[in-house]
Assembly symmetry: C2
Homo-oligomer: 344 residues x 2
DNA sequence: CTGTTAGCGCCTTCAC
DNA sequence: GTGAAGGCGCTAACAG
């Protein structure tokens, strides 16, 4: 059907290996200008495209990288994915995208699948508790870069955000506004990122003398429902919190929904800060005060780190790159005094 | 390094082809239970994983599909991508994602790249004017499904939304509310989807006797800036429109931004309907009246259609599947009379 | 039921 | 400067 190296060689009247040589464009390679010409015109005529599969098999290099994320439908991941794909394209690497749904089992299957596909490297946002999987990859010597989450007990390349610090600063800001009771919708507590955020939250709560209570740390998922239900419960307390720290796009939407439904106003009745990366954040009911991630930078650094590792012959030492989140104070956060004035 | 079929065979004391046979699990295949056992234990011991590349080369089937979209960072596409990837996973297909940025040249390079990678099929949201590329794919006989956009003069499989109808209904609704002057922010006018929406808009404008003017059809892109600038210009007219029909997430954000900046209220001063698929739509400054797409359904239908074509030996006739958008009337649309009462 | 043989399309070493 | 030979890992056809 499609032309092969052999066909081109036959048409050009040379040996396949010569064609291969010419097309691989080795620099210091001596080829007669005449044969080169014959070959190129044969390539043209047959519209020859090299077979990547065959090349990959022969060279043990697939020019493919695997990208494993919990959910490519989530803008946080999809925008990182976009960057990685684009950079890859420039360097002739192709990206295979996989969704784990935070499911360890699925992730495991993906990893072995990608391994047997012979990817040259892996960028992943590991699911909770998948340290065994990560360790396996590492031991195989496959270049690997983690994004957003790392495991304390495994040394890996990684690009992560300053989550603890970001959460700390958010709470600090709320404390300065006079809030004493701040709840934290933690998402899944056993995920690294969330654990870090909790750490920052907790540290700030202690440091600034806020109310410290397990009942203020709620939720166990990233869905709309999780945000909605958790918030509803919080608001039904005898003394509900005056501020919320939220950790995800959907959770945020759920929480806002619950607040509005209860007839409360933001920030008069309750302040809200969210870890969120939506372009819509500034245009919500009240422009949302957010902590957002440098998505392009994350993608860029992850890709470059991976590429370094792929293209180096020796094993490089691992590096953890920390990128800074951005804190945008908008209209969902306000002083607590305001609340009192209004309700009195 | 990693174990091969040969290694397994050697360890099990059988021939490689036998191992291959056993592992391919052909149904009506007679293998001695004893050899089967030997082989499985060897597989286990060596932790053997078949090499996909070799298999693909040999079988001329890669179990890979290409997904070409303008921008995977856009939730519209990423959520479709997610569905496709997940369905693919269940059927052992892997998905390669490509971003064209609406650039025809890039798209072309992606297509030939995917072709030389031997993908089994292609799902794409073609860029404007890339009918030549699409035709090429079709002529190669590669299974192909278009999403969201088709070319009038090429018969292809496709899953598209009822864009003209959706735009028509949106304008009809605005007309019923008393609006006479409705602007259309068209995105890129030469993109199929946008052309269709324009058609619906135009038809409704004529049918319901609204103001018909080229100056009401504006914009030439999908960016925030495009939405922002176009809206700003519209609002600076002597007699600005009382309603806007918007065609994209970023455009919407830009338009809202321009409206608010001008100190106008939605919907009192101006009504807004947007083609938008963000989870945040219901929670914007004013909950946004939207036309949204059934993203899961689009992904599902596209994947199934592609798979049918991949797995069938004969060439199937093409089918165009039309899915229905959803019209959610929220709070950004109101009667024109209201405006008069307030401003008088 | 299992071994043998051949080859997918390409690249790389070794000749000449 | 170019041809010949061999093999990447796997599967399919044919033997036996």
């Amino acid at each position: 059907m499609t032309a092969t190296l052999k066909d081109v060689a036959a048409l050009a009247g040379v040996h396949p290996s010569t064609v291969s040589r010419v097309l691989r464009k080795q620099e210091n390679l001596k080829i007669l200008e005449s044969t080169r010409k014959k070959i190129f015109s044969a390539v043209e005529e047959l519209n020859y495209q090299p077979d990547f599969t065959a090349r990959a098999l022969r060279m043990k290099k697939s020019f493919t990288i695997g990208l494993i994320v919990p959910d490519i439908g989530n803008p946080f991941f999809s925008r990182i994915a976009r960057t990685i794909e684009q950079l890859g394209f420039e360097k002739d690497y192709t990206v295979i995208v996989c969704n784990t749904d935070e499911d360890q089992e699925k992730e495991n299957r993906y990893v072995s699948h990608l391994l047997s596909r012979g990817v040259d490297g892996l960028i992943m946002v590991p699911a909770q508790g998948s340290d065994k999987t990560v360790r396996t990859v590492k031991e195989k010597g496959l270049p690997l870069v983690l994004i957003d989450r790392v495991f304390e007990n495994i040394e890996t390349n990684a690009v992560i955000s300053n989550n603890a610090e970001a959460a700390f600063n958010a709470i600090k800001y709320l404390a300065e506004l006079g809030h004493k009771k701040v709840a934290f919708l933690r998402g899944k507590s056993n995920i690294y990122t969330m654990a870090k955020r909790y750490k920052g939250y907790h540290k700030a709560v202690k440091k600034f003398g806020l109310v410290e209570s397990d009942s203020l740390v709620v939720g166990d998922g990233f869905s709309f429902e999780d945000g909605y239900n958790s918030t509803k419960e919080l608001l039904n307390c005898a003394e509900p919190p005056t501020a919320l720290l939220l950790t995800g796009n959907l959770i945020t939407v759920g929480a806002i929904s619950a607040i509005l439904e209860k007839g409360l106003s933001i920030p008069e009745d309750i302040s809200v800060i969210a870890f969120a990366d939506s372009i819509f954040s500034p245009y919500l009911v009240k422009p949302l005060t957010t902590i957002s991630h440098p998505l392009y930078e994350i993608g860029l650094k992850a890709f470059n780190l991976l590429l370094e590792n792929i293209e180096s012959d020796k094993v490089l030492s691992t590096s953890q790159i920390i990128v800074n989140t951005q804190f945008d104070i908008r209209k969902t956060t306000g002083k607590v005094e305001t609340v009192l004035e209004i309700t009195q």
